[in-house]
Amino acid sequence: MRIVRYFFSRWQNWLGLLIVLMFTVVAISAPLLSPPDKNTQGSFKKVGRSSDRTPHPPSETSILGTLPGQIDVYHTLVWGAREAMQFGLSVAIGAFIFGTLFGSVAGYFGGFVNNIMMRIADAFLTFPVVAGVVLLQQLVAVTIESLGGIYWLNNDYFGRVIDFQFTPPPFAVFLMKVDPILISLIIFSWMPVARIVNTMVLTLKNKEFIQSSRALGASPAWIIFRHLIPNSVGPAVVLAARDVGSSVILQATITFVGLGGASAWGILLSIGRNWIIGPGGGLLRYWWVFLPVTIAIVLFGVGWNLLGDGLLEVLDPAANAYGGTSMIKRKQAKGKKEAQSASDSKSIHHESDSVAVQTATQGISVTLQNNPPVSHSQEKHPVLQVAREAIAKKDFEHAIHAYSHLIKHRRNLNEIRQDMIEYVREHANEAVIWTLLGDVLTQEGKMEYAEKAYEHARNLTQ
């Protein structure tokens, strides 16, 4: 529950979640908010004669006015939200699935294969999305053409036209069904997911529980799907969630500049653009052509970005690009409150503990995590804050100095022990941290566990 509370302690995260929820509600209840009728075509609804080429201001028939051709702005806004949500989530899910598979397979095989595969992933980073979008559409086009069909691009912003004079072959039917923009955005957004999953799998796969699974005769597929992927999805989900907003904005951009794609919001803007930036037009004069849809697009992007940043910060305080109050500092500010929630923390770490349980620290971490925290009444010592801040800044020398000071004076031993167990998990090869852990345990009188920690430190230094 601590993570949830951290998440909600920032108003940015609240705002992000609120906006995303709002769009979800609009997307789900679109048929109620603006029921389609016989004049509806896709996400567009005509509320007058389509030969009338001037946009009309808001009236009773159309709450937010109309575009040239009497297309209702409100209807497209609502149904566009539904489309945008579907599109963004599809890209994110596609990127997540492909990235996770790619990263974990590469990591599982390791060595040479891993190098080649990750090099390929890096190569994708040098490919501008716009070029990819155009290329994929053209490839589909020439394929359709070589199969005997007719392909026409950009028909009045309402998408491509594919026509066959005869029953189309199955491959062509498949090509007609998939959205090339969706596919190309997935192709160009899976790399960060693959990278992070790969890193986690590389560290996980040498842990004992994987090796014992392998010794029991588990197949690579079983190990990858049953062990490696479930243990490394967390950050991957967050990275993929960040794609939702950006991919919808990209889709709208591509549609707006006329490179294909069928973003309803993008089409709305491109139909209305001449009334804003054409002669005699103006932002304020024909505001309903521009403002509502712009606000929708910007809000959609902002909402998902805030949510993504918030989730990322909760998972990995160091990655906080805003450089705001980091989670570790926040821990201090909460001081006493945290004491009550300390027992909650056990359940959050449960999943990562299942990893730790299998490691060399087996005996230690299991027993210690199961021990209920003892000394809540004790005030947090200011030096503990210094130590944690130093760790957050990766300033290990200061941190170690501060921690040993605290241990020597038997201050906040409980917290320090928990910290040490956390650090040991991250930096398993640091003899100093093992020694510190030993010191804490000695002070607490748990001599046999302390002995194990010291032994580990000795092994590392030799």
């Binding site: 490839l139 932002l283 910007v298 800044k393």
Partner: protein, 354 residues
């Protein structure tokens, strides 16, 4: 050989390897289409669309080894790329490579001015706001940066055009207006580089220089704002890490002036992480470049995809454009690497050692 040259050669070599990998990936995507479709990138002028008979296509397939295994096909395709035959584009009515090269100066002009704007400004604003987090400058920077990253470029450009062009008529979209172009043509304006701002200076025509600048301001601003904000944020985050380091404290204790601390010591230290992050988003800068060009009607290389997407299928143009834009991204990465290597003492030392 001077070490910096060695460094450059090493980087160019590694960029070349990346180019090979990405073209291999590109071609493997192309392999998913039937050979008859692949043959269309080799069609000569006048044979596009329905006009190529089946027998004709079959001949092209044989000639270009399009039924051979993947690696053989890739080899022949890469060979033809290296020989400069990038295919004939039916929509452009011209060969792909010359059309790309002809339009490059305009694109490079926009890229150059944008980078010259956004790198110094991004670094400086990130530095100043991260040095004193919570100050007025910091909070206004964070607000602006948030606005910059969350407003899509096409919306920024709609707003800019409608205010600065339609309402106030100060600036203009497009590369140059018709009247000036005609006048340039009559007065014997020589195109040395193809970039208008440079050419007008070389021709000593300062009036045209001013006009060309007026046409560049809006696109440069649109392109810079997003990446300025991203670079500024990264710089801000790394300077906040750096600020408490011992060497800064020690320098301050020695009596080094605060301004010198920021602009000499801290700046050097954060240059590497900031520019590395920038190099990683090089592809997104180039994408932004294309989008900006299309919106403002600058006739750079993105004009090719606009034309290619306007009527019937044109795979050679799309394929050529993709390869060319990858080369542009790799070039941009190389330049950022080079800046970093010459300015960051740690990287420079590493270069000297190697």
């Amino acid at each position: 050989m001077p070490p910096i040259l060695q460094f450059l050669i090493r980087r160019i070599f590694s960029a070349f390897i990346s180019l090979i990998i990405i073209t291999m990936v590109l071609y493997s995507g192309f392999m998913l289409t039937p050979p008859e479709a692949r043959a269309r990138i080799y069609l000569p002028p006048g044979k596009g669309g329905e006009r190529a008979s089946e027998q004709y296509i079959e001949n092209i397939i044989k000639e270009n080894h399009l039924r051979e295994p993947y690696l053989v096909q890739y080899f022949y395709w890469a060979k033809s790329l290296l020989q400069g035959s990038w295919g004939y584009s039916p929509t452009l009515n011209a060969d792909v490579l010359p059309s790309l090269l002809h339009r490059t100066p305009a694109t490079l002009e926009l890229a150059l001015y944008s980078l010259l704007m956004l790198i110094p400004l991004g670094l400086a604003s990130g530095l100043v706001s991260g040095w004193r987090p919570g100050s007025v400058f910091d909070s206004s920077f964070r607000g602006l940066a948030f606005l910059g990253t969350s407003t899509p470029s096409f919306i920024v450009s709609i707003i800019l055009i409608s205010i600065l062009y339609i309402q106030l008529d100060w600036l203009a979209p497009g590369r140059i207006d018709v009247k000036t172009e005609l006048q340039m043509f009559r007065s014997g304006f020589v195109e040395y580089t193809g970039a208008l701002t440079l050419d007008s200076l070389l021709n000593k025509r300062f009036d045209i220089f001013i006009i060309a600048l007026k046409h560049l301001i809006m696109p440069v601003f649109t392109l810079s704002i997003y990446h300025w904000a991203t670079l500024g944020r990264i710089t801000r985050a790394s300077i906040m890490n750096e600020r408490g380091k011992e060497y800064i404290v020690a320098a301050r204790a020695r009596g080094v002036k605060e301004s010198k601390l920021i602009w000499k010591h801290a700046l050097r230290a954060i240059l590497a992480p900031s520019l590395t992050a920038m190099a990683l988003s090089a592809a997104s800068i180039v994408t932004g470049l294309f989008v900006t060009e299309i919106i403002y009607g600058l006739t750079g290389i993105s004009q090719i995809i606009v034309i290619a997407m306007s009527s019937y299928p044109d795979a050679p143009a799309a394929l050529g454009f993709s390869v060319y834009s990858v080369i542009m991204v790799l070039g941009l990465m190389l330049i950022l690497d080079f800046i970093q290597a010459t300015l960051d003492p740690r990287v420079r030392e590493e270069v000297l050692k190697a």
